[in-house]
């Protein structure tokens, strides 16, 4: 199977689309746009998995695709959006490093994924090799996203994007059982829940963080709100 044949072309295009959306995630500066891009990535991922199921003739992958569509393209983005609205987080994404250097690092990571995957999969079919290269890239970009975002929402989105890469790899490598996939998904959901919980705790505890209140304890006489001269 190679280029010019529809099954391969579509699989290539859809997996590449997931990767492209990873770059869109890296480029976004606003929280709502970030969540929208995550939803789009979930939808393209569901299409890629369903197409793999059709090409490889594995009906179990349709279930994975449906789960991906419901969870990643609808439920999780809606939940995140609700969270953002409820806690008034509607603001710009804070990045630890700039968008430009982040994108350059992303391209470097994609090159790294290709360099790692290609020698390791010598002898496998072109579809599997390329699928694994795409999936590995998406995972690495998800990790990069988690590193470069200061805000908890950005880090959760990075984690979910990383999990999208895992599902993509599982769909490409024939024979990964559904149980393993579900277990991975459950683990990620649990991690996201814990992260979310901690975010909320931190927010509640430090919502009104004002360093001016400390001046008194440091022996400075300036009242709160006025800095030292």
């Amino acid at each position: 199977m190679g280029f010019g044949q529809l099954p391969f072309d579509m699989a290539h295009l859809l997996a590449g689309g997931v990767l492209l959306l990873s770059f869109v995630l890296l480029y976004q500066r606003r929280v709502t746009a970030l969540i929208g891009a995550l939803a789009a990535q979930g939808a393209v991922l569901a299409m890629a998995v369903a197409w793999q199921g059709w090409v490889l003739d594995v009906p179990a992958l349709y279930v994975t695709a449906l789960a991906a569509l419901l969870a990643k393209a609808v439920a999780i983005p809606l939940g995140l959006r609700l969270l953002v609205r409820r806690f008034g987080l509607r603001r710009a994404v804070e990045t630890a490093i700039g968008i430009g250097p982040g994108m350059i690092m992303g391209v470097g990571l994609v090159a790294l994924a290709i360099l790692v995957v290609l020698p390791a999969t010598q002898g496998a079919g072109a579809l599997v090799r390329e699928g694994l290269a795409f999936a590995m890239s998406v995972m690495l970009l998800g990790m990069l996203m988690m590193i470069t975002r200061r805000h908890a929402i950005g880090q959760v989105v990075g984690l979910l994007s990383l999990e999208n890469g895992l599902v993509l790899a599982a769909a490409g490598a024939r024979g990964l059982p559904l149980v393993v996939e579900l277990a991975t998904a459950a683990l990620v959901v649990a991690l996201a829940a814990v992260a979310g919980f901690f975010t909320l705790r931190l927010r509640d505890d430090f919502a009104g963080l004002d360093l001016g209140l400390l001046h008194h304890h440091r022996g400075e006489s300036a009242p709160p709100g006025e800095g030292p001269p």
């Binding site: 044949q5 579509m10 290539h12 770059f23 994108m103």
Partner: protein
């Protein structure tokens, strides 16, 4: 070189020149309609050009020969590039020369002329606009060349005619590299033509303008030449995108009158669709801060680079 090839070449160039201001007018009219205004007729740019061409040009005291010569140079370079991009038919007389790198070079030449003209008089705005234009070009041109690399690997040639024919056959298949190159080229096209997220073509607001800032000191027929050059450049880019990504319906080389008429219809439909897409996109999006534009074009450059990387990967596999 057959008479048919020469005939199509002449008709193509005439159509490019005649339709370019109409296309600009169409986009303006569509944008006005989308924003709930009536908008001027699509013929308005032609009327403006005729009016400007009749007026006596006023030159600043500090203007040198550059202000007089550069509009002609820019319009000539852009016209030459426009003659190379296939419109309604392939196999035109200049088709063997229709190299994408040559097109990029001619566009760069016209941009160079524009920047020179902007700096000639020595006003602050002109210099500012020229500096911005050139700093955007430093990102846009590599992105364009990297996209050309993708097409050259897929079609085996940098010749626009050959690439269009290969893509129309569907030989290269659906490739993610093509999608990446398309996104990169769209970003470059928006930047090159000073369209919405990069520059607002409808304002004369000092802080945001790039293209208009460079033309503040021109008047009369020189301004008409610059306006014509800008319109022709938009026409060229839309035709280029159509020739690369919508190569269907274009009359192949050595086809008869029927094929040409069909190709003409397909070309007009494609240009109209692209104009509608441009108008909708520009109405939906806000202008970007100037300092974010290099980031936007840098992202385009990286996408094109990624496309080339994946092409090397998959050609190594297949």
């Amino acid at each position: 070189m057959t008479p048919g090839a020469i005939f199509t070449q002449l008709v193509h160039l005439a159509l490019m020149l005649a339709l370019a201001p109409l296309l600009v007018g169409l986009v303006r009219w569509l944008k006005a309609r989308l924003m709930g205004r009536r908008g001027p007729s699509p013929l308005q740019p032609w009327r403006d050009l005729a009016k400007l061409a009749r007026k006596q040009p006023l030159l600043a005291e500090s203007a040198s020969v550059m202000s007089v010569a550069t509009p002609y140079l820019a319009l000539a370079a852009t016209s030459a590039a426009a003659a190379l991009v296939p419109g309604f038919a392939r196999g035109m007389a200049l088709a063997p020369m229709a190299d994408l790198i040559l097109v990029a070079g001619l566009l760069a030449l016209s941009r160079f002329a524009l920047a020179l003209a902007a700096m000639d008089v020595g006003t602050a705005f002109g210099d500012l606009g020229a500096a911005r234009e050139m700093s955007f070009a430093a990102f846009a041109e590599p992105a364009f060349i990297l996209s050309v690399l993708c097409f050259a690997i897929l079609a085996g040639s940098t010749n626009l005619d050959a690439i269009g024919a290969a893509f129309a056959d569907g030989g290269p298949g659906l490739r993610i590299s093509l999608l990446l190159a398309l996104l990169a080229l769209l970003a470059v096209a928006l930047a090159e033509n000073g369209r919405m997220p990069v520059d607002n073509p409808a304002t004369h607001l000092e802080l945001t303008m790039v293209h208009e800032a460079m033309l503040l000191e021109t008047s009369g027929r020189y301004l008409a030449l610059w306006e014509m050059q800008a319109a022709l450049r938009l026409m060229l880019w839309l035709s280029l995108l159509a020739a690369l990504f919508l190569p269907f319906g274009t009359a192949p080389a050595f086809s008869g009158l029927g094929g040409w008429l069909l190709g003409l219809l397909a070309w007009v439909v494609k240009l109209g669709a692209l104009a509608v897409a441009l108008a909708v996109f520009e109405s939906a999006i806000a202008k970007m801060r100037v300092f974010r534009v290099p980031e936007f074009l840098g992202a385009a450059l990286l996408l094109a680079l990624l496309g080339a990387v994946f092409l090397f990967l998959s050609t190594g596999l297949a």
